[in-house]
Symmetry: C2
């Protein structure tokens, strides 16, 4: 499987996903500014992936720091933290990664600055490896929802390319396939940036999972014809009450699912859950420039010059539309999600476990 991001010889190698599926090109990032550029320009995207990128960006920044004390080192790391946090506001994973790196550094405050720089690289790589393991767990908890003969709708890309590997929404598909289930996937193309057409369809074809591409506006008609059995999507930020922010169009899919009695699942690693926010209306929703809508790949114009455009990059699906949230600790009802913030919660009692 193509690597989304990798630490190689003191640099960050980042697949430029904006060129997929036409070209497979890696950008070599020598400093955190290049990593930040890659996040803003969507060379790398997908909530878990940009969290990993932020961690690696901080590791790169750390290598350049000249400091003779821990406090000075942390102070000189701040600009990199700020820059990376400012790239994109909706996914919580960059904040999560920055918080984790800061906490890690605090725990190593008595080490030499040189030692710190070294272990920070190891921690960034560990974040990537853990992400893959987390996704595998999500796959195990989510595979129960895919039955023999099902057609699964997915939106945007929450596959390997959105993560350190394996994917979140795709993880249950990979595990269900290992379990020997026969099923197929419908990927909606996900305008404007076409992550579904360019990335999800590509990944699933590489994995030899049967996939059919549709335009975003076709899902309703297929549900009405009984051709979709369930939907699984990822999330950029899911909050305490189970409201889910994800790629624009997710809310429309959820409403359609509800109208047709179709289950709607959200694959959400804990790194994408923000317990500090009570409900979805408090999630910042990024709006991006018009050219993503008016031009394909920056070159093929599809609208009149100067047309006014509204380009919301994300939307919020209220918890009541969500059948279950699949985390690495199990699948839960959205109303039970807040229990995961409590270390003493009895998760066994709350987990959804279908008879297979």
């Amino acid at each position: 499987m193509v690597k989304t991001i990798e630490w190689v010889d003191g640099k960050v190698h980042m697949l430029d996903q904006s060129r997929l599926p036409i070209e497979v090109v890696y950008i070599e990032c020598k400093d955190y500014l290049k990593v930040a550029e890659g996040i803003k320009k969507l060379w790398i995207r997908g909530a878990p992936a940009i969290g990993i990128a932020a961690a690696m960006g901080l590791a790169l920044a750390a290598q350049e720091i000249k400091a003779d004390s821990f406090e000075l080192f942390m102070k000189r790391l701040e600009p990199a933290c700020d820059t990376l946090l400012a790239t994109r506001p909706t996914a919580v994973n960059i904040q999560w990664a920055v918080d984790r790196i800061r906490a890690f550094l605090e725990n190593h405050r008595d080490e030499s600055i040189e030692k710190l720089k070294g272990v920070l690289i190891e921690e960034a790589k560990k974040i990537l490896e853990e992400d893959v393991a987390i996704n595998r767990s999500i796959g195990i908890w989510g595979a129960q929802f895919i039955h023999e003969g099902d057609t699964v709708l997915t939106h945007c890309n929450a596959g390997s390319l959105a993560t350190g590997g394996y994917g979140t929404a795709t993880a249950p598909m990979l595990v269900a396939r290992e379990q020997g289930k026969k099923f197929s996937v419908i990927a909606d193309e996900t305008r404007p940036v076409l992550q579904g057409a360019r990335l999800t369809a590509w990944e699933l074809m590489e994995e030899k999972i049967p996939v059919t591409l549709i335009t975003d506006n076709t899902a309703g008609a297929l549900m009405k014809r009984g051709e979709i059995n369930l939907a699984i999507v990822g999330t950029d930020r899911t909050v305490r009450n189970g409201d889910v922010a994800n790629k624009i169009g997710t809310y429309s899919v959820a409403v359609l699912c509800k109208e047709h009695g179709i289950p709607f699942y959200v694959a959400a690693p804990l790194s994408s859950i923000d317990f500090s926010i009570q409900s979805g209306d408090q999630i910042p929703i990024e709006e991006r420039g018009p050219e993503e809508v008016t031009h394909i790949f920056g070159k093929c114009r599809i609208a009149p010059e100067g047309v006014k455009v509204r380009n919301l990059a994300f939307d919020v699906t209220p918890a009541r539309y969500v059948t279950a949230i699949i985390t690495e600790k199990g699948a839960f009802r959205p109303e039970d999600l807040k229990e995961l913030a409590d270390p003493r919660a009895d998760l066994e009692r709350l987990k959804i476990q279908l008879k297979q």
Copy 2:
């Protein structure tokens, strides 16, 4: 306003809408085969427009016919009728136009063949002129639903370009603007062929009606934010019970409207209403080739080579999602639509008339 189609010096001039908004190019059709090609390839599209094209195509075909009797003339017109009817199955307007032309010719069966050829051209032109008048009436009956300060969502293109002029879904907008109402329009781009982005946004900008372009998957989020007050769409075929076939994605818009308590209106000239069909599941739904989805303008590839694609060109919105059907005879509840098939129906009693 740019003319969609025109009879000029014994030929049919057809705007090639597949090249809009980048180029404004007319194709000169010297025979009915070229007209049929234009319908299949979407140089001309929109239900009323393809009906007019079919009528003009038959007028072209008639000019070539050598016959010494009416029966032979009608027999030699059949291949043109068949070819035009076979171009696209969903809109009822081609059948309507062919039926009208045949009935017209029957009524003139005692004329000379040369005279027939001449009056047929006049009848085809009359169909175009009547279409504009019909659309104006639709505008008058529909403008009541647009209130001061409203934001109107529309889908696909049911404007001037979809008709002989003036448009069906756009007609209420043009009349409301005449009435001095301030309002704005949101046009969703309408993948895969992008009639919303390429045609509707272009037309409305030409008309100086405020329009904002969105991707199809953004409508739900805007409705949830309270930013859309009503939706008006056209139709390719509306049937006896008020079920509505229209461009793919219409059904999703209707479901979203219902979820948000937003009125959903369908502008439907009588030429697009098929009383011979009882309900929407009997409407033939065209499926088109994958390249419309995988390539933009036939050249910009956005998906992996060989990806499986499902390209439904239309969907069916059941009557229960429709607030009112706006015809040239008035706006009616979908459950009352069948009354329009009865020449003795008391339409005054059935018409929807809001206090203004």
